[in-house]
């Protein structure tokens, strides 16, 4: 049996536990199961750079979530979780049905697992190292072939950091 299947089932269980656990803190820890499972999956899928980044990001996400729960409360007071009205439920069911159907259509079109057809990356694989001088082709793509994407990423990161600063600052509050 493919080890990825086991990892994915564990991740799904972790996700369900994250959403359905009694208190928020254990839910957040259960989300950690999913995140570190994703790290393992990246390693099995030959993506070591992603695994490294994912470990760091997952740890930081956990810290941020736990800090938020510590500042706010750990209790989930509401028992009523789903809306009472009928219309949102019908809309939800129709939406999920539509999504599943479109997933089946798309999954037919996709290449089978493990048989990816490499078209766009073929020149990168062939000449990437010579053109950029980077032995790691993922780095070559990030910092050379698609450097503008990385600039956009840095912009988003900077904007988000600014947003957090503006939202959480204390000066200028109305007293």
């Amino acid at each position: 049996m493919n080890p990825l299947v086991i990892i994915l089932i564990l991740m799904i269980l972790g996700a369900i536990l994250a959403l359905e656990s009694k208190d928020l803190l254990s839910g957040i820890i259960a989300m950690g199961i999913m995140g570190f499972g994703l790290t393992l999956a990246f390693l099995f899928l030959r993506a070591p750079d992603l695994a490294l980044v994912q470990i760091i990001i997952e740890t930081m996400t956990l810290i941020l979530f736990i800090a938020t729960v510590k500042i706010t409360s750990n209790q989930e007071t509401s028992e009523r979780s789903i809306s009472h009205r009928l219309l949102p439920r019908i809309a939800g069911a129709v939406f999920i049905l539509f999504l599943t159907l479109s997933f089946y259509r798309v999954a037919e079109e996709l290449p089978k697992f493990g048989e990816a057809v490499i078209r766009m990356a073929a020149p990168i694989l062939a000449y990437g190292a010579a053109a950029t001088g980077s032995a790691n082709l993922v780095t070559a793509v990030i910092l050379d072939f698609r450097a503008l994407d990385t600039l956009g990423e840095a912009t988003v990161l900077f904007t988000a950091a600014l947003g957090i600063l503006i939202v959480l600052r204390h000066e200028g509050e109305k007293r």
Binding site: N2, L8, I9, M11, I12, A15, I16, A18, L19, L24, G27, M31, M34, G35, L38, A41, L45, R46, A47, D49, L50, Q54, I57, M60, T61, A67, T68, I71, T72, S73, E76, T77, S78, R80, S81, G92, A107, F113, G114, E115, A116, I118, A121, I124, L125, N136, L137, V138, A140, V141, I142, R146, D149, E153, V156, L157, A160, I164, V167, L168
Partner: protein, 113 residues
């Protein structure tokens, strides 16, 4: 196909969380789950059987089969942006808690006005 289906189930679990939960932290957890599923799906699509990581070493010949580096590079970007958006959402929920003393959307809606 099994792996694609399991990834879709993971995405659906996250969607279910965003749809039914009324607590802000749980909704953010659902968003993180959906994001995880999307990242994993993109990497799954770029995988090749018996492929090696797209890193050129001394003893790897040029004809060695490598996995697709472009999805890996873009998912790397997406992971980092995911952390930024999650942090922003958590900052918003801290502010909402400071104002309303609760993160329950039902109660916040009652408190409006």
């Amino acid at each position: 196909m099994t792996l694609y289906l399991l990834t879709f189930i993971l995405f659906a679990v996250g969607l279910y969380g965003v749809w039914t939960k009324r607590h802000l932290i749980r909704i953010i957890l659902g968003l993180v789950i959906m994001e995880t599923a999307m990242n994993l799906f993109l990497i799954l699509v770029g995988y090749r059987e018996d492929g090696v990581a797209p890193i050129i070493t001394e003893n790897s010949s040029n004809t060695a089969v490598m996995v697709d580096p472009i999805p890996q590079a873009l998912v790397l970007t997406a992971i980092v942006i995911g952390l930024a958006t999650t942090a922003l959402l958590l900052a918003f929920s801290v502010r909402i808690y400071a104002k309303y003393q609760t993160l329950d959307l039902n109660k916040i809606r009652n408190l409006r006005g």
